[in-house]
Amino acid sequence: MEAAIDIADLRVAYGETTVLDGVSAHINRGEIAVVLGGSGCGKSTLLKTIIGLVQPRSGRIDVLGIDTSMLDESSRPRLAVRLGVMFQYGALLNSLTVGENIALPLEMHTDLPRDLVEDIVRMRLASVSLEHAYERFPDELSGGMRKRAALARAMVLDPEILFCDEPGAGLDPVTAAEIDELLLTLNHELGITIVVVTHELLSIGRLNGRLIMLDAGRVVFTGSVDEAQRSDHQVVYPFFHPGEKAT
């Protein structure tokens, strides 16, 4: 299948500390990939490296067929508008209303008429059940609403790949499930490739995507949720059967 993301022998370090040590992975177009692992295993760093926020020491990352190491300051934005990113805490701009936050990429990257931009923004807000929040400011929203608004902003340019960092973190189970349902809808209805970083078992089960499991900066498992649950790998088993010991 055509690759959305291809990673080969990626090494990332912060100072003397190696965070990713020879990571290789392949994510197909149109699939849901879940990057999982325990705290500090390097999953958020992997996400930041793919989207260009962290520079790798070595290795290669191809995103939508483009070698990201070859991108310069002028060509990187052209790839960036094809990607959507939902940050762990939403990262909405507090000085702008929710509507303005979501309209921002459209206003900065297109010449669309203002009324069309507003219609697009309202449709995006409706798709995450936030029609009423158009004129509210982010600090007037709950954590779940902020995440849904962040999802609407990430989706507003119709990205080909959507990255989500811990979409359910800090949310109640019902809201976390709603976010997962939204991601599934986007994947099924629009065929968007979705890369989710999480360590929450319920979310992993709901998304039922292809798993890429990290441990100490290395990929220790790739496969389906069923395969992971049956695995007796010394890292995978305790993760999917917390409190039990591998036989």
Binding site: N94, T110, D111, L112, L116, I120, M123, A126, F137, E189
Partner: protein, 362 residues
């Protein structure tokens, strides 16, 4: 190539209708509608290959766009593979705004006065609480963290020495030069020393030190408190049964109140030194004569008045900075606003207190 063309009164869409070409398509269609008002248009979407959500919303709105130009438009059928997206991207209209009566000017004025009174009340409560906790801490020293006090005193006092020294040296020099020009006309050059000594110790020393400390340390206090509030650190302190004012603000208050007079004493010396350098080098006054004149013109009251002022300035800067930090709202932008408000309010507070002291002492 344009993704839309007209064939008679039919809009024929080819290839793609997506964000990338939407502005161009929109402009072209508006031009077509404007050129033939009152026409009845249809669309041919059969050759459309790619559609994104923005394009789908545009198609939904197309009949309305035609109506705005006095035309009518019927959407033709979409290719089957694009229909799910078209259904998914249905625009939602802005909800009707609830009609509420606009307040009159008198109501707005009344509301403004009430808010002002509430803020003044909050400020006075904070001022009294903070002052009480600061004095209370003298007899209950375990209630404040010694390390925190030492760190704050170092940051507010010792680290401010170079910049306060530099500025007050230059101000002393400038004051001497300015007064020399006037006094020379009367052959009273030596009285530059008197003017300088009294002006620096009573007024410029404490005032300039306070202005620099409010910009440097008052803003830092406001930013720290606002950030602590934003990141729920203040709530965390409350849950640990720790009063945030005692824990966070009292060490800053004492650090400020002790550092400021020390900085002011140093500023007095350096300011007079700056004036002395000018007096000796550009006015030809003997160093010993200048210093003797400075000493003879100074009274203990002058220095003490300046020090009392500096303590009160320290107190008002801390209270205002903590108040602004605690009352911030709105994330990163709110922190910036709190810092600005803290510096501006502190400057106003300093000048008002200075005026009051001048009325009382002189």
């Amino acid at each position: 190539m344009n993704a839309v063309r007209s064939d008679g009164h039919t809009l024929v869409f080819d290839d793609a209708l997506a964000i990338a070409n939407l502005a161009q398509v929109d402009a072209h269609i508006r031009q077509l509608f404007a050129s033939e008002p009152a026409a009845h248009w249809t669309t041919d979407l059969s050759a459309l290959v790619h559609l994104d959500t923005a394009g789908a919303i545009f198609l939904h709105r197309l009949p309305d766009l035609a109506a705005q130009h006095g035309c009518r438009l019927e959407l033709g059928p979409l290719p089957i593979h694009l229909r799910p997206l078209f259904e998914f991207a249905t625009p939602t209209r802005a909800p009707a705004r609830p009609t509420t009566a606009r307040p009159s000017r008198l109501e707005k004025l009344g509301e403004g006065i009430i808010q002002l009174c509430e803020r003044a009340g909050d400020f006075l409560y904070l001022m009294s609480d903070l002052s009480y906790f600061a004095v209370h801490a003298l007899w209950h020293r375990h209630s404040i963290r010694r390390d925190s006090f030492v760190d704050q005193a170092y940051a507010i006092g010792a680290q401010a020495l170079p910049i306060v020294g530099l500025i007050i040296f230059l101000i002393g020099a400038v004051s001497a030069l300015q007064s020399a020009v006037q006094l020379r006309q009367f052959g009273a050059d030596i009285f530059v020393a008197d003017l300088l000594a009294i002006g620096i110790t009573r007024e410029l020393g404490p005032l300039m030190t306070a202005i620099m400390v409010s910009g440097r340390s008052g803003s830092a206090i406001a930013a720290e408190v606002a950030t602590m509030k934003f990141s729920e650190e203040l709530d965390a302190l409350r849950t640990m049964a720790l009063e945030p004012l005692r824990f966070v603000a009292v060490p800053k208050m004492w650090a400020m109140v002790i550092s400021m007079p020390l900085l002011t004493i140093m500023a007095d010396f350096i300011g007079i030194l700056g004036g002395t350098v000018v007096g000796v080098t550009s006015m030809g006054i003997a160093p010993v004569a200048f210093v003797n004149q400075v000493i003879s013109s100074l009274f203990l009251k002058d220095i003490a008045t300046g020090l009392v002022k500096s303590v009160s300035f320290a107190w008002i800067i801390t209270v205002i900075s903590v108040y602004r930090g605690l009352n911030f709202s709105g994330g990163a932008v709110g922190v910036g606003r709190a810092i600005t408000a803290s510096v501006v309010s502190s400057l106003v507070g300093i000048i008002v207190l200075d005026l009051i002291f001048n009325l009382l002492f002189y």
